[in-house]
């Protein structure tokens, strides 16, 4: 296991090692994996949108193994209750006395995969909000702090919208990224077929590369990455554009998007071995940061523009 990361060069080496190990289990999806790692390093949450069977669970599970973090998976269903994920008080008998004790739910983990979050009811979705933003859970009068690092990766299916509860804007805004998981290329799919029909590759065979302490240290390092004033202006200007281009966007992104854009760019620079942020970092991070934070107007939709097309237009 790598220990005591100090420089951006060392961080790059460590992350490259994580990526090469994850490549043993997951074929392709490099972009989604990198964005997930960036999200973890920013101490933020990510929303992963993709069709079933695109190795979403496998990716997150593998990452948790490689980072030596606890992992739990929650399947979103319409009958899922908040107490099912947060936990509940149970009556216990200790030393002849009966008392209520709190039984932690699956949310108390380092990495939580909330599968098909949009199938859960708004009440359950909302139960996630405090944990995602404040890194704590309030049950009755008690506040339970989440373990660090804490990361929620929620997935949703872009099709089959029947019987789902679309995420409210407030909750969408709490996800740093909306990562789009793409179908593998032909060669990649061929590799998947060859790899998994001939041999069995177990996630348990993965050995931790980065420890919990390293992840917390990396999160601190991300904040230390310096940013030039021009880059800050560029990022804030881009987010402001989402509010001023009323001809395409009905509701623009919040200041949380500016924060996220700079933090994600810092993390990207760090895992690429740089100790400064450049304009390309902002441009690259703009898509996953902004795509779920803007609401297009009728005119844009009438012209078949999606959020990515509008963001690319703003970047020009």
């Amino acid at each position: 296991m790598i220990s005591n990361l100090k420089s951006s060069g060392e961080v790059k080496t460590a992350i490259d090692e994580v990526l090469s190990h994850i490549g043993y289990i997951v074929v392709g999806q490099e972009e989604a994996i990198r964005q997930t790692i960036i999200s973890i390093l920013c101490g933020a949450n990510a929303l992963l949108e993709g069709y079933p069977g695109l190795a979403k669970t496998l990716t997150v599970n593998s990452l948790s193994k490689l980072m030596d973090l606890n992992f739990s998976r929650i399947q979103g269903t319409p009958d899922l209750m908040p107490s099912d994920i947060i936990g509940t008080h149970v009556l216990e008998e200790r030393g002849g006395k009966r008392e209520f004790s709190f039984q932690q739910g699956p949310l108390f983990s380092n990495i939580v995969l909330m599968d098909e979050i949009n199938r859960a009811t708004p009440k359950t979705q909302s139960a996630l909000l405090e944990a995602m933003q404040e890194k704590q859970v309030t049950v009755g009068t008690q506040i339970f702090k989440m373990d660090k690092p804490f990361f929620v990766l929620a997935t949703q299916n872009p099709v089959e919208q029947e019987g789902t509860y679309p995420l409210p804007e407030a909750q969408c805004d709490r996800f740093l990224f909306k990562i789009k998981s793409q179908y593998p290329k032909f060669e990649e799919e061929l590799e998947i077929v060859n790899r998994f029909t001939e041999e069995e590759r177990e996630i348990d065979s993965l050995k931790p590369v980065l420890g919990r302490e390293n992840i917390i240290n990396l999160q601190k390092m991300v904040r230390q990455v310096p940013v030039a004033n021009d880059i800050k202006h560029y990022a804030v200007d881009l987010v402001n554009k989402t509010r001023s281009h009323k001809e395409l966007i009905e509701f623009g992104a919040s200041p949380r998007a500016s924060l996220g854009l700079l933090m994600a760019s810092k993390a990207k620079a760090l895992i690429e071995g740089r100790n400064y942020v450049n304009k390309e970092d902002i441009n690259e991070m703009a898509l996953p940061i902004l795509r779920h934070r803007i609401i297009l107007n009728f005119e844009a939709e009438r012209n078949n523009f999606d959020a990515d097309a509008v963001i690319k237009y703003l970047l020009k």
Binding site: S7, Q224, P226, A228, D230, Y276, N278
Partner: protein, 253 residues
């Protein structure tokens, strides 16, 4: 810890020096260009030196004001965004920033005067300098000027257009517009054409100068001719004056 501020100040000074060099080359180019033009018209090139000097002064001040860190980054691609980031984060202290400062200081240390000047542009400027220098030398040494060339080519009206430039003697051959057409005078059975020279009025009788006076019974075998300069001295012997006077009288009839 590296003092990146000192290194940045040093590279900024070097950039300003580069700007001065660029402006100096430009001003020399401009001076040479204007000089060539002026010499072409036979004028003094002191005016060109004035224009070049003015350009050097104002151009340098303007470009020095415009010089920025991003300009250095553009000229030295290895420093792109790094230098700016280091400058904007002066005074902050953590592991990542210290690494950045060290990296910037090392890279800036290798940036010399030649990294900051644009190679292609400088070569073009030097090319221009050599060309204009040779052109100016040629014009100066050959005494070439536009007015003479146009006159030699038979240009009309140039004198009146460029009269301002015509300081010396004119070599205009066709003075008919100024002095009138040559007169033909019949003298006996011969035809004589009297031509007026440019420097002095002179009647050149050519071979007919061998004139024999037969009407008065006297004969004259000397060369008949007269010239008049600004002193109006005539080089005719006083003894023969009467013969010459008669000749002119005949001409004037």
């Amino acid at each position: 810890m590296v003092n990146v501020r000192k290194e940045v100040s040093r590279i900024k000074r070097r950039l300003v020096l580069t700007k001065f060099f660029d402006c100096f080359l430009d001003s020399v180019l401009i001076s040479l260009l204007i000089s060539s033009f002026l010499v072409f018209f036979g004028l003094s090139f002191l005016l060109a030196l004035g224009v070049g000097g003015g350009y050097l002064l104002f151009g340098f001040i303007r470009s020095a004001k415009k010089s920025s860190i991003s300009e250095i980054e553009k000229k030295v691609p290895g420093l792109e965004w790094q230098l700016r980031t280091a400058v904007d984060n002066f005074g902050k202290n953590n592991g990542i920033i210290n690494d950045l400062n060290n990296e910037v200081a090392t890279k800036v240390g290798f940036v010399g005067f030649y990294d900051l000047i644009s190679g292609k542009r400088t070569i073009k400027r030097f090319g221009g300098l050599i060309f204009l220098g040779v052109l100016l030398f040629y014009i100066q040494s050959s005494g070439f000027n536009l007015i003479d060339t146009v006159e030699e080519l038979g240009g009309e009206g140039v004198g009146s257009l460029t009269g301002f430039f015509g300081g010396g003697e004119t070599s205009i051959e066709d003075l008919s517009e100024i002095q009138g057409e040559g007169s033909l005078a019949e003298l006996g059975g011969k035809e004589l054409e009297l031509e007026l020279g440019t420097e002095a009025n002179r009647a050149d009788l050519g071979s007919e100068g061998e004139y024999k006076q037969d009407s008065g019974g006297q004969s004259y075998n000397g060369r008949i001719g007269g010239s008049q300069d600004k002193t109006f001295n005539e080089n005719i012997n006083l003894d023969e004056k009467s013969i010459v006077e008669r000749f002119y009288n005949n001409l004037n009839k």
